[in-house]
């Protein structure tokens, strides 16, 4: 199985200011994203997500290290032939109409004129821009521009989709659209690499995540492993008959988290689950919920950052908070 994206010791330093101070935006990033995977790239603003994506898209050059798309070095423009890209704040040639723009992009992707026309129509329908197909982009709203960006990214029927903050500029409808599209593409076996600072997207969409903190990669792995690490604790909520006391059974040795009327909530390890449930049933009670005690991604992220309350961490939000 070949990789869709691979980087090796990828680093980028910028020279900033009058004194040309070296600022490290990315340091020794090693990534490998397999075909067919949905990979979420998390980090606060300035963590190096956009830098990585721009190196992959050939927009900036890495100071050190190498990167490949489908085994081709990113310095070769042909590496991007099967890649669709949506930038964080897409800007288009606003004097063109969506159809003209897609035609231009299609030509660059070596598509046939007929294929471009068919695909444009289909995609503009998908992002609900059919009505605006012949209007100049100049008059478009922000959401429309973002949706056009999605259509542009999908035009070449790419095997790999690289999306830089695809959700950030979108209204709820647009977000739903993007999520649907990502799931569809995943089903078709396409690879999707996207950066975000919205946790909710990650949890529902990603197979694996990478977490960047100030240019350093702090974590790569399955989202389940990240959220439910081994040795994880569970919580059990049980409904017990009246006059029941935990001390009478094995449950007495567990930590009682809360108790409300006939409902009890305990914390327990994976090994204690079977004896605890048996004890509950023996006592004539019932199990209401049994769930792993989960870490939130925010907690995970803060753990990895190591420093609480540091600037930039407020960027990392979930829709619930």
């Amino acid at each position: 199985m070949t990789s869709a994206i691979k980087t090796s010791k990828l680093s980028k330093q910028y020279k900033k200011g009058v004194r040309q101070q070296q600022v490290s935006a990315l340091l020794d990033l090693d990534l490998e994203i397999r075909r067919g995977e949905v990979f979420g790239f998390i980090g606060s603003n300035g963590a190096g997500k956009s830098t990585t994506i721009k190196i992959l898209m050939g927009l900036i050059q890495a100071t050190n290290g190498q990167a490949w798309l489908f085994e081709r070095p990113v310095t070769d423009p042909a590496a991007r032939l099967h890649v669709g890209y949506l930038s964080e704040h897409p800007h288009f040639h606003d004097f063109l109409t969506p159809l003209e723009l897609l035609h231009l992009l299609g030509t660059m992707r070596q598509m046939e004129r007929k294929t471009i026309a068919r695909k444009s129509e289909e995609l503009l329908g998908l992002v609900s821009l059919s009505e605006a197909a012949n209007r100049k982009i100049r008059g478009f709203s922000k959401g429309m521009v973002q949706r056009l960006g999605i259509a542009a990214a999908l035009l070449g029927d790419p095997d790999l989709l690289i999306l830089d903050e695809p959700m950030s500029g979108l209204d709820p409808l647009g977000r739903h659209l993007v999520a649907t599209i990502i799931r569809d593409l995943q089903r078709q076996g396409k690879t999707i690499f996207f950066s975000t600072h919205i946790i909710h997207d990650i949890e529902t969409l990603c197979d694996r995540v990478g977490i960047l903190v100030q240019g350093h990669q702090k974590y790569v792995g399955s989202i389940q492993e990240a959220l439910y690490p081994a040795g994880n604790l569970f919580e059990i909520t049980v409904r017990m008959p009246e006059q029941w006391a935990p001390a009478q059974t094995i449950l007495g040795s567990l930590r009682l988290l809360w108790h409300k009327e006939s409902l009890y909530n305990f914390e327990l390890t994976e090994a204690e689950i079977s004896s605890a449930t048996q004890a509950v049933i023996a006592a004539g009670g019932g199990i209401v919920t049994l769930e792993p005690k989960r870490r939130s991604l925010e907690e995970l992220f803060l753990d990895l950052s190591g420093k609480f309350g540091e600037k930039g961490q407020s960027d990392l939000t979930s829709p619930a908070s």
């Binding site: 721009k54 423009p77 890209y85 704040h89 800007h91 003209e100 660059m108 070596q110 542009a152």
Partner: protein, 271 residues
């Protein structure tokens, strides 16, 4: 083959952008107005209204073509990098050189159209001026055409200069201002050099200044080389050597500019 198709598509898109640009539209309108005023302007001449009409219309076409190049360079090249609209194109499977050449091709197309259109307008206005003139000389149409080609050459060279500065600078206004500077210097280096070399100055020249002028003369494009207006105005014979030299000089200079621009652009980080 694919690269050529990309350059063509990019050029056509740039051309569309130019024709849909409000500033350029108003420039073109102003140009049309100026050409219409040729009749009035030339009527103030005592002895050579036809010559003045040719002079005026060629100058109008030249200024117009150069202004369009400058603003097109600003709006469609530099600003495209600044607003990141170009990133979308650079993220496509094409090289930066193809992108740059596509943009330049669009510039060439637009300039060609503008010079052709206004040249035609001027050519149509000249017979009107001639009506009612006794003893007016005949119009040297061949020279008129060569003068138009010269104007095209100047504007394309300046377009290539804009391209080079766009590849260098991060802001959009800087390449514009720098190109204006090159225009100013480029069209006067020869005159200043000749003036200094003629030794007409009151005090002897400081050698440093002389050196500076010589460097400027060879470094900046010598735009006065492409000025064939005087041959068109007075119906003089164009020396073929001069025309050939201008053609070769222009082509070589443009290729050098494009190569430099492509090299610099390749290394540029699109942050």
């Amino acid at each position: 083959m694919h690269s050529f198709a990309c350059i063509r598509a990019l050029g056509l898109a740039t051309l569309k952008g130019g024709l849909r640009d409000r500033l350029i539209q108003s420039l073109l309108l102003a140009g049309l107005f100026f050409l219409l005023s040729t009749l009035v302007f030339s009527s103030f001449s005592m002895r050579q209204p036809l010559e003045v009409a040719i002079n005026y219309s060629l100058a109008t076409v030249q200024i117009l073509a150069i202004l369009v190049t400058l603003f097109l360079g600003l709006n469609l090249l530099s600003r495209e990098i600044e607003t990141r609209a170009g990133y979308l194109l650079m993220g496509q499977p094409i090289s930066r050189t193809v992108y740059l050449l596509g943009k330049f091709y669009g510039l060439c197309l637009l300039n060609f159209l503008i010079v052709a259109f206004f040249g035609l307008c001027a050519a149509l206005s000249l017979p009107l001026v001639k009506i009612g003139l006794t003893n007016a000389p005949s119009i040297a149409w061949g020279n008129f055409f060569v003068a138009q080609l010269g104007i095209l050459g100047i504007s394309l060279l300046l377009g290539a200069v804009t391209l080079l500065f766009t590849a260098l600078a991060t802001s959009a206004v800087l390449p514009f201002l720098m190109t204006v500077g090159v225009w100013f210097i480029g069209q006067s280096t020869e005159a200043v050099k000749n003036y200094l070399e003629a030794g007409l100055t009151a005090q002897p020249m400081p050698p440093a200044l002389k050196w500076l002028v010589t460097v400027a003369y060879y470094l900046f494009p010598n735009l006065s080389l492409f000025d064939f207006k005087v041959y068109a105005i007075y119906g003089l014979t164009i020396p073929p050597l001069l025309a050939g030299y201008a053609l070769i000089y222009g082509l070589v200079y443009m290729v050098i500019l494009l190569l430099l621009a492509a090299t610099l652009f390749q290394k540029r980080d699109m942050t």
